[in-house]
Symmetry: C2
Subunit: 338 residues, 2 copies
DNA sequence: TTTGTTTACGGAAACGTTTCCAAAGGCAAA
DNA sequence: TTTGCCTTTGGAAACGTTTCCGTAAACAAA
């Protein structure tokens, strides 16, 4: 069933059918109705490939996600998807492996599928961002450390200031009276989000006259997904063995979840023995016990903005903006005053 | 940069370039090398739309997921993705909303994108399956209750016997000495997985001479995603208020997570006061405290089989098979002997 | 040398759309 | 009635591939 068949059935030319389908203004209402009736009757659906081919570009936005196993991105994906749909874009989700090169994948996809735009989701790509500037289509970096965004003016970005918000989290711990504060940090070689959050931790300590004790810094295992519960568990376990502290800051909520387990296994209690603060604000945090205090990233706002920025780039060929949102401290039950 | 440009640059015809790219046997090795060198040099990537158009069908498999917010499906997605890639398929993930009709979405997608096949992931679609048999392309139902699969011989299916495995879970509780066992069940009108698991619960009770007490059956709220933590929390809370029991069976691990919270808030302890058993076996269960005893579905095996079945259907136009895996009881720390 | 067979290659048609262009018809103004 | 404009329509080209078909070249057999 092609457009030709419909044209024949409706007794009109193919161009008329095309016009009817695409809400072209230059068609008489009566003709349009007649055609659409046939279309409906025969369940005709235009071939996307032919359409894309002719239009020389598709209507597709690709979503590149590194670390789809992270609940945070999953939630982001939900919002972005909704937003993309409401603007009439097609979309495609592509999960990027931990060790794959994001810019070459982006390049390949964009040529192969003649994408209209690209949203890149996920941290862990600081230095590798540069390759992206060769991309022939607009793209926006979402959830990438604000600092990094500013260093790359040729990319539109939306995210938070990871260092600042990280310092905020640790600041809250300090204001609550904690002096020995451990951190479950990211991979050692992570040039982006993880590093920023670690920097924020250090800054908060020094600004508050506390010393930085290397034994309190737990770097993630390189062979385990960076922000995962498993990683949080492993790192926290080591930390508990080798150091004393009254509070621990996890750079992701999932890590905090693993941390909970490590603490329980060590026979300690949250928050009585150890206070825990997380980062991200995923829904699951509510259901931990005690419920997790965390810095929540405005997921929905970021998602909306990401699509908006991309849309600007596509429609108006606008300038590349950088939007930085604030995270918000959500105090629940996992931190205690000392 | 099109195939014509490459042909000109390489001093050959377009068909030769096409042959070189597609590993066609009818081309001299030297020519092939020469062409591929140019291809590489100019970073040429064939236009997917043109290719699909000409081939009259794409190489794309669509993954339809209902309930992508469920961690279980996310993990399945990971495995399926890997499997699809290794067989050289393109794939596309489409999240289906709670209230959308899966068969009309499937139909639309399959026409629009000229899909090669379809994998449908997720429960909650018992009765609505029938519309699918009109699909012009092969598809497999994954993670759909085995009973339902058998009722629909025109669909290939892979899953577990939800009723049986559910009875297994409850049986374990009974063997551990529990007599008053509550259930956090699915939506009342759920015709598929949820209903099967509830049926298994009832069967286990009666087979073991226990009475079915309606006050111990907690149906999910219809306005909350069926298998979510939030739902588990709400339902368990009500259950605790209105009835006495020593064990509770949650038809998903995420629900069990919500259940943990409700129990803690009620001032009770797991497993001392209430034992909890979940279903699915998602990774996160390990990190709950106490770690969650659950029935684990063989996610990886199911994913591999799903792709395999689909591949059979596509390649060999084979018959529609039904594969039923066994779930495995994973005993951890959330159930106590009484 | 001639003939036949095989191998390698180029040209062109076709896939199903969208869109440009030309033309036909209707209608208002003259 | 004639002229001209505007609306509506149909035909055909073009998008970038794959593949069929024909042919040239190379080689083997006679």
């Amino acid at each position: 069933m092609t457009i030709k068949d419909i044209a024949k059935l409706a007794g009109v030319g193919v161009s008329t059918v095309s016009r009817a389908i695409n809400d072209d203004p230059g068609i008489a209402l009566a003709t349009k109705k007649k055609v659409l009736k046939i279309v409906k009757e025969y369940n005709y659906i235009p071939n996307n490939s032919a359409r894309n081919l002719k239009m020389t570009e598709s209507n597709t936005i690709a979503l590149l996600v590194r670390g789809i196993d992270n609940y945070f991105f999953l939630e982001m994906f939900g919002y972005i998807q909704r937003e993309l749909e409401s603007r009439g874009y097609d979309y495609l989700l592509h999960a990027v492996g931990e060790d794959e090169d994001i810019s070459s994948i982006a390049m390949e996809l964009s040529m192969e599928k003649r994408l209209k735009g690209l949203i890149i989701l996920g941290g862990r790509m600081g230095s590798k961002i540069s390759g992206l500037s060769d991309l022939p289509i607009p793209y926006v970096l979402c959830t990438v450390a604000a600092k990094i965004g500013q260093d790359h003016p040729d990319a539109a970005t939306v995210g938070i200031d990871d260092e600042k918000e990280s310092a905020e989290a640790v600041g809250y711990l300090i204001r609550s009276g904690h002096k020995r504060i451990a951190i479950v940090a990211g991979h050692e070689d992570d040039p982006a989000v993880g590093a920023q959050r670690l920097a924020g931790y250090k800054r908060a300590l020094t600004e508050n006259g506390l010393e930085i004790d290397e034994s309190l810094i737990g770097l993630s295992k390189n062979n385990i997904p960076e922000f995962s519960a498993e990683n949080g568990y492993q790192v926290a376990k080591e930390l508990i063995q080798r150091a004393d502290f009254t509070a621990i800051y996890c750079i992701s909520d999932l890590m905090a979840m693993g941390c909970y387990k490590a603490i329980a296994e060590a026979g300690k209690k949250i928050p009585d023995d150890i206070s825990v603060i997380g980062f991200d604000g995923i829904d699951l945090g509510r259901f931990l016990h005690p419920s997790l205090t965390t810095m929540v990233q405005p997921r929905e706002e970021m998602a909306v903005s990401a699509v908006e920025l991309l849309n600007e780039l596509i429609e108006e060929n606008g300038i590349k903006r950088h939007i930085t949102y604030e995270a918000k401290l959500l105090t629940r039950d996992s931190v205690r005053r000392v």
